[in-house]
Each structure stands twice: as structure tokens, then as C-alpha cells.
């Protein structure tokens, strides 16, 4: 774990608000010069706090209107291999997030789809056919805050 001071936290907050900021703009937001902001960002990257930058696309403008969170229980624990399930589910292009969790479900998935009938197709053909899949619960996302 890395020791972070107030300036580092400020840099992270500024970059979380807008990941496209360059070192000069980040420095301005937290009261540092461009070179010292640049050095701190480098340090956060090398320390594994900032893993990288990702482009944020407008899903709806590209035809993806539906986001669904799935809770998945594996059918027969012990008999199916977690690796088989994980390998197969990661290969589904519409699945953006696969999290192994502890609780009423074994896995949490996030799925993007063009519309509800596209989601139904993905659920039937890609999710329900995964090795070891048992009960699946779907929750359609209505809105996201923060």
C-alpha cells in the first residue's frame, strides 16, 4: 500500500472528475506546478494506484440502450469448476463486468445490450448456456448517480 498525502488525494479527485486533464491542469486544480504534478501522477501510476485511462463512450449514441446487472448462482457447487465458468463468461463480449462475490449469489455480472429483446437473446443463448450456471436474477439499470 502506498502512503498518500492530501495533495495526492486531491490529484485523484481531480482526475476522477475529468480523466482527460493533463499534468498542468491537474496541478492548477490542486495548487502544484506542472512538473511536480507530473511527478506525483507518475508516482501514482508506478505505485499501482492509477491503473490507466479509459475512453468513456456514450452507450446510447452507439445503440446500446440497456444495462442489466445479473446475480448468478452456480448450479452444483463443487462439481462445476469455477475456472470453466469464469473463462466462458469472460469470453462473452456483451459482459463488461464479472465479479466473484460472497453472499446470496456467486457472481455479479454487468451486461450491455441494444434493447430488451437483444438482452433476452444474450441471456438465453450466452448466459443460460454457461457451464455450471444455476439461478440468474436480472435487474435492469434505470439510472446511475456518481
Amino acid at each position: 500500500m502506498m502512503e498518500l498525502d492530501e495533495k495526492d488525494h486531491g490529484i485523484i479527485r481531480a482526475l476522477k472528475r475529468d480523466g482527460s486533464l493533463n499534468a498542468a491542469a491537474v496541478g492548477k486544480a490542486v495548487g502544484l506546478t506542472q512538473p511536480s504534478a507530473w511527478r506525483r501522477i507518475r508516482r501514482l501510476e508506478e505505485g499501482g494506484v492509477i491503473l490507466g485511462r479509459r475512453v468513456r463512450l456514450n452507450k446510447a449514441a452507439l445503440g446500446f440502450e440497456v444495462v442489466v446487472y445479473l446475480g448468478v448462482k452456480l448450479a452444483a457447487k463443487g462439481q462445476v469448476s469455477l475456472e470453466d465458468f469464469e473463462r466462458a463468461v469472460c469470453a462473452v463480449p456483451e459482459v463488461q463486468l464479472v465479479q466473484h462475490v460472497l453472499g446470496v449469489y456467486d457472481y455479479r455480472l454487468k451486461v450491455v445490450a441494444r434493447d430488451l429483446s437483444d438482452f433476452e437473446r444474450i441471456l438465453r443463448r450466452r448466459i443460460m448456456t454457461l457451464p455450471g450456471v444455476g439461478e440468474v436474477e436480472s435487474n435492469v439499470m434505470l439510472s446511475e448517480i456518481g
Binding site: 500500500m1 502506498m2 475529468d18 490507466g52 479509459r54 475512453v55 463512450l57 456514450n58 469472460c90 456518481g146
Partner: protein, 152 residues
């Protein structure tokens, strides 16, 4: 704006690596730097490309515990959603909050330094939120896949 096949190709490369410079992107997509720049500019202006996000590793910052709460609200109260989300946003350890259509109404991420810190947040902040009917918790063991990439 109509996105064509060349735009989609650019977006696929950008999704793979968000830190590409315009020159690198152009050469990967087989375009001239100028043509590439014009297309990216156009997609940014049209809001197809909304911006860039940094990917933060919270465990490297000392937040080792991540819990997803699935909350059902007391919907007999007309303003339950608004009052709940407004109060939840004020808890610094709460990350994304999503409203859902399904068996649960809200899901949200809570990050804590360790389990006793989580317990403190849960007892003192989460359970104090208004209009909660039921809370279900899933604790993250491992993240197997995490991408924002769309199947373009």
C-alpha cells in the same frame, strides 16, 4: 450523428487502449493523422466520445474491502428514491449508486479499509439512511473481468 465502420474501428482501438496518442491511433487504424483527428474530433463534439476516465485501484489506496449493497426501499413513501439517493451521496465511502428495475430498487458500492471499518460505516451511516426496507450485501472476492468496452 451516424457512426460508420471506420469510426467504429477507431473506437475499438481507443477502447483497447485509452492512452493512445492521435498518431498511434491513426497508424493502428490505417488512417492519416489528419483524417483520424477529424473523426475523433467529430465524435467528441457529437458526444459519442464523452471523455476519459482514470482507472483507480482502491486497494492500493488502502481500501481493501468492497461490498455491493442491494437495497429495497419502502415505496409507500412517494419520495423514497430521491431522499434515499440524496442522503447516500453524502457518505464518502459510497461509490456508484444505481436505481434498478427488478427485485431490488437500488444498488451501491461501499469501500472500506477493512471489515471493522465497513461495519462502522454500515451500522452508523448506511442503516441510518431513510426509507430502507431491506438490505442485502455481496462482498467482492475477486474481479474476473472489468471493462467498459462495448461490442462494436
Amino acid at each position: 450523428m451516424q457512426v460508420d465502420n471506420i469510426d467504429r474501428r477507431l473506437l475499438r482501438h481507443l477502447q483497447e487502449d485509452g492512452s493512445l496518442t492521435m498518431v498511434e491511433l491513426a497508424s493502428r487504424a490505417g488512417l492519416s493523422a489528419g483524417a483520424c483527428w477529424r473523426r475523433v474530433e467529430k465524435m467528441e463534439a457529437a458526444g459519442v466520445i464523452e471523455g476519459r476516465d482514470v482507472v483507480i485501484n482502491h486497494s492500493a489506496m488502502g481500501y481493501a474491502v468492497e461490498v455491493f449493497l442491494r437495497i429495497t426501499l419502502d415505496k409507500t413513501q412517494g419520495n423514497a428514491f430521491d431522499e434515499f439517493t440524496k442522503a447516500a451521496r453524502d457518505i464518502p465511502e459510497v461509490g456508484a449508486i444505481q436505481t434498478l428495475l427488478g427485485r431490488v430498487d437500488i444498488r451501491m458500492d461501499v469501500r472500506a479499509r477493512d471489515l471493522s471499518h465497513y461495519q462502522e460505516i454500515y451500522k452508523e451511516r448506511i442503516l441510518a439512511l431513510p426509507h430502507i426496507n431491506d438490505v442485502e450485501a455481496l462482498m467482492l472476492i475477486s474481479e474476473v473481468k472489468n471493462t467498459e468496452a462495448l461490442p462494436l
